[in-house]
Symmetry: C2
Subunit: 507 residues, 2 copies
C-alpha cells in the first residue's frame, strides 16, 4: 500500500507544524471552517470528543457540589460596562446586536429594522449577566455557597481564527460561584483548578503545570487567575483553562450582598472558571503523530473498531458470525465505568482504506478479522499507541479478557509519552544568552519549533515581562503553584528574584 511508505499526514510535524495541525483535523474529519468568518463547524467526530469531555467533566462538577443552569446569550451593554477592567478586556472583540428584525430594503433585499433602545452584546463570558441573577438569589449566608455551572456557546471576535484553538464562536462551560468568605472562594478557585488538572491528566492524558497568571495575563476583572498549561509537540504552551478568584470585584459591580450570621450585610466573594472546545486542539497537538490523531481511550468516541476481511460470500458468513460472537462478548465489558464503545466497519470499501481512516481518526484499538483468524480463534490487533506495522495476533478469549487492561495501558502510554516530552523540553535556565538562544528556532523550515519551556527566575516587574515578550514573543505562562522559594536573579534584568516561573511561546 502506497500509504505505508509515506506518512498519512502531509506536511509532517517537522516540516510544518501548523500545516500538520490543519491536516490532522481534516483527515480525522473533526471540524471545518464555516462560511461565517471565524466560526467553525464541529463535525460528528470532533463533536463526539466534545461530548465525552462534557460528560466526564460534568460528573466531576456534580461530585464537587455544582449544579447546571442556563443564562441569557445576550448581555445589555450597560451590564457589560459595570466592571471597568472587564469591559476594557472584551469590548474590542464582541458581537453587537442592534436590531430585532429585517425588512424590505426596497431593492429586493433586506435591511436591519427594529432598532433596539439598548444594544445587546453576545456573551464573551457571563460574569455580568449571571451576576444580575446572583444578586437576586443571594440574600443570606444560608444561600451560600452558590455553586453554578453553565454549558454554553460564547463569542469573541477573533482576527486570526484557527480551528478549535481560536474561533469567534466556541463552546465551553463556565462555572460561577458565590461564597461568604475570601477563604471559601479561594478554596473553590483551587478546587476547580485541581478538577481541571485531574481531568487533563487522567482523561485527556495531557500532563499540565498548574500556576498563577501574572498581572498582565490575568482575566479582565479578576483578582487572580490560575491556569493549567500544557506543552504541545512544537514545544509551545497551550493554556488549557483557567480558574479565577474574583474577590469582591464582580459582587460590587452586580451588587451581590448577603446578610451574615451576625445579621450584617456584606459583599460576597465570587469565582469563575472555564474550559472550552480549545481542549480538543490541545488533544490533537499533544498526542497526534504524522499519521493523524491519537486519542486517549477515556475520551475516544470509539475504543475499538473491527474490520472484517473477506473475499467471497462464504468467507463473509464465516467472518461475520465470528464477529457477532465478539460483539456479544465486548458488549458485556466495561472500561472506566462505561460500556466499551466499538464499531464494526462493514462498509463496501477496501480494507486498507478503512484501516487508514481509523488510524487517522485515532481509534485506540483496531481489529482486522479474516477467515484465517476465525480458524485460529484469534484477532489481528493494531494499537494506536504503537507503530501501525506492529500488529499482533491475539487469542480471542485473551483479547476479551484483557481489553480493559489494554485500554488502560494505552491511556497510560499516551500520558507517559507526553510527560516525557514535556520534561525533556523544560529547562532550568539562569543565563540570559542561553535563554535567548533557547527560544530561537533551530529548524529554518519550521520557525515554529524552538526549545520549549524555560524555568527561569523573574523579578516580578512587568517591564521585564514586556521586554521578553517584545524580543522573543515569549510570555510568562504561569508562576507554578509548586515553585519553591529560592533565591536567584531575574533572567531579564538580573535583579533579585525569589521564584522561578515558566516562560514559553504560547497559543
Amino acid at each position: 500500500m502506497a500509504e505505508q511508505e509515506k506518512t498519512a499526514i502531509t506536511p509532517t510535524r517537522e516540516e510544518n507544524y501548523p500545516g500538520w495541525y490543519q491536516q490532522v483535523i481534516k483527515a480525522a474529519d473533526m471540524a471545518e471552517n464555516s462560511e461565517v468568518r471565524g466560526c467553525m463547524v464541529i463535525k460528528p467526530w470532533g463533536y463526539a470528543i466534545w461530548e465525552n469531555i462534557q460528560k466526564n467533566l460534568d460528573v466531576m462538577f456534580k461530585e464537587t457540589g455544582h449544579v447546571n443552569a442556563y443564562f441569557p446569550l445576550f448581555i445589555p451593554k450597560s451590564f457589560f460596562e459595570k466592571e471597568a477592567e472587564h469591559v476594557e478586556g472584551f469590548a474590542k472583540e464582541c458581537a453587537v446586536v442592534t436590531h430585532s428584525r429585517l425588512e424590505d430594503d426596497g431593492k429586493g433585499g433586506l435591511k436591519p429594522a427594529g432598532k433596539l433602545t439598548e444594544e445587546l452584546i453576545i456573551r464573551p463570558t457571563s460574569e455580568t449577566i449571571i451576576g444580575a441573577s446572583f444578586s437576586k438569589w443571594v440574600n443570606s449566608y444560608r444561600d451560600l455557597p452558590l455553586l453554578i455551572n453553565q454549558w454554553a456557546n460564547v463569542v469573541r471576535w477573533e482576527m486570526r481564527p484557527r480551528l478549535f484553538l481560536r474561533t469567534t464562536e466556541f463552546l465551553w462551560q463556565e462555572g460561577h460561584t458565590v461564597h461568604a468568605t475570601k477563604e471559601d472562594a479561594l478554596e473553590e478557585t483551587y478546587r476547580m483548578l485541581n478538577v481541571y488538572t485531574r481531568f487533563a491528566q487522567e482523561y485527556l492524558a495531557i500532563p499540565v503545570i498548574q500556576g498563577e497568571k501574572t498581572e498582565s495575563e490575568k482575566f479582565p476583572g479578576a483578582v487572580s487567575t490560575y491556569t493549567f498549561e500544557a506543552m504541545m509537540q512544537d514545544k509551545k504552551a497551550l493554556q488549557g483553562g483557567t480558574s479565577h478568584f474574583l474577590g469582591l470585584n464582580f459582587a460590587k459591580a452586580s451588587n451581590i450582598k448577603f446578610q451574615n450570621r451576625e445579621g450584617k450585610e456584606e459583599y460576597a466573594w465570587t469565582t469563575s472558571w472555564g474550559v472550552s472546545t480549545r481542549l480538543i486542539g490541545a488533544l490533537i497537538m499533544a498526542h497526534g503523530d504524522d499519521n493523524g490523531l491519537i486519542l486517549p481511550p477515556r475520551i475516544a468516541p470509539l475504543h475499538v473498531v473491527i474490520i472484517p476481511i473477506y473475499r467471497n460470500k462464504d468467507e463473509q458468513n464465516k467472518v461475520m458470525d465470528f464477529i457477532d460472537n465478539i460483539k456479544e462478548k465486548i458488549s458485556s465489558l466495561r472500561y472506566n465505568n462505561e460500556k466499551i464503545r466499538f464499531k464494526v466497519d462493514n462498509r463496501d470499501m477496501r480494507g486498507g482504506e478503512k484501516l487508514w481512516e481509523w488510524i487517522k481518526k485515532g481509534v485506540p484499538v483496531r481489529l482486522e478479522i479474516g477467515p484465517r483468524d476465525v480458524s485460529s480463534n484469534s484477532v489481528f490487533m493494531g494499537r494506536r499507541d504503537k507503530d501501525f506495522k506492529e500488529k499482533v495476533s491475539v487469542n480471542i478469549d485473551d483479547f476479551i479478557k484483557n481489553l480493559p487492561a489494554f485500554l488502560d495501558e494505552i491511556q497510560n502510554n499516551i500520558f507517559q509519552k507526553a510527560l516525557k516530552f514535556q520534561i525533556e523540553n523544560t529547562k532550568k535556565i539562569d543565563n540570559k544568552n542561553e535563554f535567548y538562544q533557547f527560544f530561537t528556532p533551530k529548524n529554518k523550515n519550521n520557525p515554529e519549533i524552538h526549545g520549549g519551556f524555560a524555568n527561569s527566575h523573574w523579578c516580578g516587574s512587568s517591564k521585564c515581562e514586556e521586554k521578553i515578550k517584545d524580543d522573543l514573543k515569549v510570555t510568562i505562562r504561569c508562576i507554578p503553584l509548586d515553585a519553591k522559594q529560592e533565591k536567584g536573579k531575574c533572567i531579564c534584568c538580573g535583579k533579585e528574584s525569589k521564584k522561578r516561573v515558566i516562560f514559553a511561546k504560547a497559543y
Copy 2:
C-alpha cells in the same frame, strides 16, 4: 399547618390558569425572567429537567442512527434570504448583529464599532447555515442518508414572552437529514415524529395526537409539517414539536446535490425536526395541580426525597443511622436503566416547610422518617400522584423491594390521568352552533377555559380555517394521521369534507 388548609399555589388553576402557571414555576424554582427582555434564566431545578429530556432523547436519536454536530450561531443575511418562504417566516423576529466591537463614545460610554460588511442573523433555526455544510458533505449516494442532530440555543424575537412557552432565546435540538429519495425522507420525517411521540408519552407522560399541519400552519419552507399536539389542563393545545418534510426546497436553496447510482447528479431530499425547552412548559401544564409541579419519575431530577424528623441529638443519631442504611440500599436499585436519584434533605428548617418545598417541586416520592418509624423499621411515604394527606407507613424492606414498581405506577398514573382528561375534553362536533358554543368560556373569571378539542369536519379551504380563527381564536391543530376517511360536512361552510381534523385554542 396553615398550608394544609389552602392550596400551596395561589391562584388555583380554576381561578386564573395563566397566573397559576407562573406561580408553579416560581414555587418550584424552575426559571425566572432575566433582565434581557424576553430571555429567561433557567434555574437549576428547571435545567435538571432539561438535562433529563436531553439525555433520554439523545439516546433515542442515536439509536435511530443520528450523530451530533455543531454549526455556527450566526447566519449571514444572504444565506437567510435563499429560501423565500423561510425568510418571510423569520425576518420579522430575528436578532441582527451589525458590529464586531464597542468603542468609546466620547461621553464616558461605549458605542458599536467595526461595522460588518454583511449583517449576521442569530439562528432562529439552522436549515440555511447547515445546508451550506451539507452541500459540501454530500457528493454521492454513498454519503446518504446523512443523519445529523444539533443541541443548541436559538433566537426568535418574541413580543409576548412567557417562561418556557415563548422566549426570545430558547434551547432546543434540531435534526437535519439528507436522503437520496423522497420515500426515504418521508420515512425519516415520520420516524422522528414517532420518536417524539414515544418520548412525550413514555417519558413526559403526556398523551399526544400526531398529525399533519395545514398549509397556513406549516414551517416556512417545508413541503409538509407533522406535529404532536397535547392538551393542557385549560383544554388548550400545545404543539410539542414538529418534524418537517422539506422536499427539495432547501436542497435547491443550498445546492445539496449528489451523484446517484447511475452517475447522474440530482438534488437531495431533506428533513428537519425539533423540540425545545417548551416541553417543560407542557410538562407543567399537563400534570401540575394546585399544590405545584407533578413530575413523571422518568424525567424527575429526584425520584425520592428523604426528610429526617427529630427533636434532639439522640433522635437525630438514631434517625440518621437508619437513613444511612436506606441510602445504601437505594443506591443499589435501578429504575428505567438508571440509578435511583434521591436526596436526604437535612437542612436546618422545619420539616413541614421542607415537605411543602418538595411537593411544590413535584418530586414523585417523599419519605418522612422519625424515631417511631425507626423503631417500627418502616418509612412514612407520600406520593405526588396522590393527595398529600394520603401518606402510608411501609416496612422498609417492602419499600426498597417495591420502589421501582412504585415509580412505574406513578409514571403510569400520571399518564393515565392526562389521557383521561384529553379524552373527556375531546368531542366530535358536527353542528356549527354547538362548535361555537364549545369554544365559549363557561367561567367568566377565567376566560381561558373552554370546551377543549373539537374533532370536526373541514372542507380543506383556508377561508374556513381563517373564519374560525377570526371568530373564535381557534385553529386547526392538525389533521390526525389516524383520521379515517369519512364523509361529512365542513363545520364552517357545510361543504363536503372527507376527514375530521382537530380544532383547538392553542399556545
